[in-house]
Amino acid sequence: MMMNDIATAAEASATGGRRIGEVILDLQNISLRFGGVKALTDISFNVREHEIRSIIGPNGAGKSSMLNVINGVYHPQEGRILFHGQERKKMEPHMAATQGIARTFQNIALFKGMSVLDNIMTGRNLKMKSNLLQMALYWGAVQKEEIAHREKVEEIIDFLEIQSVRKTPVGQLPYGLQKRVELGRALAAEPTMLLLDEPMAGMNVEEKQDMCRFILDVNDQFGTTIVLIEHDMGVVMDISDRVVVLDYGKKIGDGAPDEVRNNEEVIRAYLGTSH
């Protein structure tokens, strides 16, 4: 525990005074089954405010299922989830969004027929308050609202450096840019917690560096708590504050990157054992 605190404090000073706060998401004894398949078994871990928390593990370890549990797509059969100290009952995905949890997907889940601008604007839909009739007339207040949100969206577009493609339908963009747009759509909701499911999968080194920079900047500038699934161990060990390791739906390691790196069980899961 002591080690852990020192590690996080050192990390905080290294990234420029970013303060890791209280536990905001606490998962206790989560079990998730699909029929007879146990996707997650008795998993407990927590996420602290402002930290970058990574979930790693071999393929099929249950990482994406874990994210789906956090934002309400899957409903675990057992276990408790406390978000900001309050226990969550039955939960629908849009409720997670209203509580400030945004996410990106492993396989890009953008709205293919819409432009970059519209995709990111859609991310702000929870903040738009006009009703149907006002929108049909598109008068005064609605237009003002659209413009106010457009300004926010343009800030995100600037931040992610995708100005030149803002009117392009996302289906026509290269893979790396699509991933960036998806991050933009998640950021548009101004989330307090951002779930990233393999944001760097299939990218080359430059694209990965860009994406790392965006993630660190989001964390640093907006104080967004980040839960990250990633296979690139270099990236994970570099940018994470704490790492949780899953294997076959069970938790086999949890702690600062260095602790996890030296954890026997983690090494065994990744490299196999000699018999």
């Binding site: 945004a102 709205f111 819409m114 859609t122 839909n125 598109y138 413009i147």
Partner: protein, 354 residues
Amino acid sequence: MLYRENGQFKASYAADQQIFPILQDRVAIGALLAIAFIVLPLFGSEYLFRAILIPFLILALAALGLNILVGYCGQISLGTGAFMAVGAYGAYNFLVRIDGMPLIGAMLLGGLSATVIGVLFGIPSLRIKGLYLAMATLAAQFFTDWAFLRISWFTNNSSSGSVSVAGLNVFGLPIESPVAKYLFCLVVVCVFALMAKNLTRSAIGRQWMAIRDMDVAAAVIGIRPMYAKLSAFAVSSFIVGVAGALWAFIHLGAWEPAAFSIDRSFQLLFMVIIGGLGSIMGAFFGAAFIIVLPILLDQIPQWFGIPLSTATTSHLVHMIFGALIVFFLIVEPHGLAKLWSIGKQKLRLWPFPH
């Protein structure tokens, strides 16, 4: 060379977000409206209004409504004829049962009746998708066919099952002559097209498209699928209902349930697919293709003085029309609206290749 946006800089987001951001487009649409509102009423023949323009406008309106549901929200529907029927009979009942009910009031109330039925038959969309949903909406079609044929209350106990309206007027102006009918339809269509465009470019439109493109991701960013889908059904069937009322009141005058049979539902779905899913303009292209083209094809032999019997002509029209549908769908599966926007894109660079 003519269609360039060079030098048209946008200095504000409001300027960037207008419906027609390019000057040439604004000029073109202005000219089109001037022709529709001024030139055609002055020079159009009665045949042109009765047989071509009025049906074109009304079915374009219905296609527009359907396009909101199918093209923007991705929920397939085969109940369009039913929603038109509900709009028509709803408006009829409000008109004959309430003294002093104005025509526009009756039509809007007819639209609202269609909204209620549309939302009701839209509820299955919360559970099922695609072809299965099409089957569920087909139920609406059969149900309304039956209801308007068998429940005589809806037809004001008319003995023949057919109902009619006469002496229509708006704010004291009679809607009797073909020109008056045409102008009335044109105004209604323009107003609804503008409102539909506004909806699709604001938050609700983005929600519909989000549900269409990726429903899980849409839910995760806070869109309630139930609200988005049912609002699409509501708006769509409202517009379709008003189109149904127009079709019955203005185009037909006297009608029976067969006017809104399953054929009508298919015809509208074809319009939307050929015109272009997810495009306001597509509804107009589709309606023009399906309504106007067969009439034109029918006339061509006469223009050239080719002696063909009426039966042969009508067979030929069917064959050529079918071939054209196949041709356009192969050339551009996304419909005529997409073809149009590709053409405009090319025109922006013309005469240079890129």
